[in-house]
Symmetry: C2
Subunit: 318 residues, 2 copies
Amino acid sequence: MSSSKPLFERVALIGIGLIGSSLARVIRREGLAGEIVISTRSSQTLDRARALGLGDRYTSDAADAVRDADLIILSIPVGAYAPVAATISPHLAKGAILTDAGSTKGSVISDVTPHLPRHVNFIPGHPIAGTEQSGPDAGFDSLFENRWCILTPVPGTDEVAVKKLARFWTACGSTVEMMDAAHHDRVLAIVSHLPHIIAYNIVGTADDLESVSKSEVIKYSASGFRDFTRLAASDPVMWRDVCLANRDAILEMLGRFSEDLAALQRSIRWSDGDALFDLFTRTRAIRRSIIEAGQEVDAPDFGRHPEIAKGESAKNEG
Amino acid sequence: MSSSKPLFERVALIGIGLIGSSLARVIRREGLAGEIVISTRSSQTLDRARALGLGDRYTSDAADAVRDADLIILSIPVGAYAPVAATISPHLAKGAILTDAGSTKGSVISDVTPHLPRHVNFIPGHPIAGTEQSGPDAGFDSLFENRWCILTPVPGTDEVAVKKLARFWTACGSTVEMMDAAHHDRVLAIVSHLPHIIAYNIVGTADDLESVSKSEVIKYSASGFRDFTRLAASDPVMWRDVCLANRDAILEMLGRFSEDLAALQRSIRWSDGDALFDLFTRTRAIRRSIIEAGQEVDAPDFGRHPEIAKGESAKNEG
C-alpha cells in the first residue's frame, strides 16, 4: 500500500494494548490512514503510546477521538463495550465504519447495536492473533501476518463497507473470513476460550498443592507445565470478560471436556492401555495438520531450541 | 571434558529415541565414554542410528550390548523395563552402573530391582528434558543443557557410583538433584503427566465436535488451541506407559484438577467476575518465576515471532 490516497482518512483506535498498538504500527507502515487518533482511558497508557510515537493525535476522551473518523476500532476488554458505545455514539460520523477486535461477537453485537445511530456501519471483527503479553509495548507490526481475521456482519450490513474493512485487514497481512456471530462464538469457545480456561485452571491447581512445593513446580516446569503458563499469563481483565460474555458456549465446551476427561481418568484407573494408546495416537495427527496449514512453527518445542537446524529434526517417528 | 581418560570405558545405550540419541551425541561431543554401544529392538531404528553415526557399535541384542559396559542407560518406554531387565541382568558386569531416563521412578524400581544381581549399582534417573518429537533423528546434543536431572537412588546405594553418575549428567549440561522415588512421582504427576493428559484430552474433545469442523479448529488454532497440540503430539507408547506406571499420583492430581475446574465452571455460570479475576491474576506470576528461573524463553509466544527484538516487548502490563 504505497498508493497516494490512504484507505481511510482518519482511524480512531479506542484502546492501545497489544492489538491496538499492533494495528497502529501496521497502519503506519502500510499507509492505511491519513491520520491515526489514539484514545485510552488510562493517562499512563496514553503517555506510553505517545512516547512510542504510535499515533498522530492522543486523547483520553473517546468521544473526541471518534469525531470525523471514517474507521473506528475498539480494542478493549469486551466488558467495556456498552459504556464506550454509549459515549461515542452521538459523535460518530455519517457512513463511518465501526469495528472491533473482541474475542466474543454475540455479546458485542447486543452491547453495541442498541446505542448506534442508523448512519453508522457496525461490522464486528476478530483478528485471530495475539500473544500472552499486553499493553502498548507488546504490539508489533507483523502480528496479523498469515493470520485469519473473522468478520461477523449482521444481515443487511452495507456490502461496500464490509468490502472496505476486508481490504483493510488484508493489507494488515490477514485473510478475511465471514461467519455469523453465534458460530464464531462456538468456534472460539473450543479453539481459544476453553484452552485459556484449562490453562488457568491447571496453573491454579499446581499453585495450591501442599505435597509439591512451588519451587519444584517452577524448577521442573520444562517437562510440560510451562507450556500452560503462557496462556495463563494472559490479561486477566480481558479473560474475565470473555468468560462472562461467552458463557453459554464455554459451559457447553467445558461440559464436553469434563465428560471426556472422566472417561480418560477411568481408562487410567482400570489400566486400559489400548484406550489410552488410541487417544494419544489420533491427537498427534492434528498438530501435523496445524503445521501444514501454516498456523504453527515447524520446529520442535515451538522453536525454543533455535540451535537445531530446521528440517534436520523434522522427520522422525515414535 | 577433553582430558585423556573418559569417565566411562563403555556406555551401552538401550533405546535410541529422542533421549538416547541426544545422549549419544553429547557423550561423543564431551568424550564421556571410550566406546558407545547402541541397542534397540527395531532393526529399522538401529539402521537409522548407524546411518547417523551415533555410536561405535550397534546390536539388536540388549544382552550383547551390556556386556563389559560400565554404564548402561535405559531410554525406552517404562512399560518395557521388566522384560529388558530380565534379558540384560545375567550379562551385567560387576560394578556396572545401570541407570535410566524414564518419567516414572517407583514403577521402574519395582520392575527392575528383582532381576538385578547384587554386584550392579542401579541408580534410577530422570533428565527433565525433551521435545514432542521422537526417534533417533529428533535428538540433539544440547537437549540437557540448563535442565535438571533427578536421581532417585534407593537407600544403601554405593555413594561413589552415585557421584560418578552425577558427574556424567553434569558433563551433559544438567544440574543434578536427589529425591526419593515417591516424591519424584508426585512432582512429575503435576508438572508433566497431568499437563500431557489434559493436552491429549482437550485435543480429543475438539476432534470430536460436530458443531465446529476439524478445518475450523485447525484454521483458528493460533488463538490458543495449538499450544496444547504440542504436548498431545508426544509419543503415544511412552505416554500410555507413564499413565499406567504412575497411576495413583496421576489420579490424585486429576481429582484435584477436576475439583478446581468444577469451581471455575461454577464461577462462569454464576458470573462471578471477581473469582475469575483473582485466579487469572495469580497464575500470571508463576510464568514470570519460570522465566526468571531460566526454565522458559523470555520472549512472547514462546519466541514464535523471532522478528520481535528480545527485551523490546518484555516490559509491559495489562
